[in-house]
Amino acid sequence: MYFKKLSQAIIILFLLIFTITGCSIPLETIPEKAKDNIEPVAKTTFLMGTIVKITIFDKLENDAVFTKVFDRIEEIENKMTINKNTDKSEIIKLNNAAGKDFVQLSPETFYVLEKGRHFSVLSNGQFDITIGPIVKLWNIDKENASVPDDTLIKNKLPLVNYRNLLLNKTELKAKLLKEKMIVDLGAIAKGYAADEVAKILKENGIKHAIINLGGNILTLGTKPDGTLWRLGLQDPYEPRGDYMAIVKLNNQTLVSSGTYEKYFEQNGKRYHHIIDPQTGYPAENNLISVSIITRKSIDGDALSTAIFLLGLEKGMKLIEKSPDTEAIFITNDKKVYVSSGINEDIFKIVDDQYKLQK
């Protein structure tokens, strides 16, 4: 008798499990296919030294908008690069005139420089827009990259100081005070480009899209069915594309900075691309990645580097003071820290090796 009751109880439990989970799972997957008949259109190209992917979820008559967007990114790249051999780059002109003259800038280059200085001030120099001389020394993209001579680094460090970048807003002019100073917009220009892409897409009537500039994500609106975008967050220890968490976004940007993106190894030690302007060496603060969620991608881009360099404690304090801005920190030992505005509705770890810290 006792066991008869037990099996009845199990059957009821079993039915309960299936009615609850069995209902909820199909509901989540069906709308994707059934509801929105429009297949997203994605185009990929290589610009700004990275891979650019634009995915549009609205009905498109033709591909013209992609051409517009890619041309615009190329225009921004040419104006702001220090890595390409082009006479169009206003930043190369500014760097070449270091210690000598003021240089006339376009409004948009001025805007990006001003943003760069803003985040340099905000992070008290932990992020520095004039890091160029040190970045050039490390040459992390190049073949046989190796650790630069320590005296070379020490000699170049005094050139890194955003306070020696003068900005004249009324005349849109800028000047670097010391000779051989180098402005590097590498940690901010992609974010600006993403914002500009969003602008062009909106002007062309597009309401739902994902802009992906080398892993920096900017979403336009929501998904066509009104639900939030679901973005994977890169697992720092796995090949690109493997995610350890899901972040939900609505008209927001998600930008990550991590030691896994670019690096080389020498004598068994890993040297990554996020250089600490105070020491001239890659930052070592037990963080492996920082991701920022905010409105403008230019802010997300600069903040992901700035907050990484500030480290967990100071970085978290700055995030908590910034409106509409959240951050996800991952440490080398797979601990995850999130700012106060992030809850389980918008952030879910899907790999249980990673532990959310309270």
């Binding site: 008869k4 199990i10 290589f46 892993g215 679901r230 890169q234 690109r240 594309g241 995610y243």
Partner: protein
């Protein structure tokens, strides 16, 4: 106290069903066939169906300006052996095998990625 035959049968059946329910993700991941796609400068260059591979397949793609990329595809994944790029990020990535994973060679504008049913869970990845 004794189990009745029916009790045991029901119990075993339920046990299998429940275990199966929780293991379904790992059992059925390969139901939808996985393919590797190689793209050069945004255009699809080649598609590899892992199920059709008999043996290891090795090939070199010649790229503009005397550049090249040397790729090996095995039944359980694909990787870059060598490429004419300065940073060697593509080689360091190692073998990829799961849907959504990708290898990027920026200097040569080559992307290799695995497509399958699993990645549909998300819209894109931030890295």
């Amino acid at each position: 106290m004794k189990f009745k035959k029916g009790d045991i049968l029901i119990f075993i059946f339920l046990l299998i069903a429940v275990i199966g329910w929780f293991l379904q993700d790992s059992i059925w991941t390969d139901v939808d066939k996985k393919i590797a796609i190689i793209e050069i400068d945004g255009e699809i260059y080649n598609t590899i169906f892992f199920d059709n591979l008999k043996d290891k397949q090795e090939f070199t793609i010649d790229l503009p300006d005397n550049n090249y990329i040397y790729i090996t595809s095995e039944k359980d994944g694909i990787y870059v052996n060598d490429a004419s790029c300065p940073d060697k990020v593509c080689e360091k990535t190692g073998k990829i095998s799961k849907a959504g994973q990708n290898i990027v060679c920026l200097p040569n504008k080559v992307v290799i990625y695995i497509q399958g049913a699993n990645e549909k869970n998300i819209d894109d990845v931030s890295y």
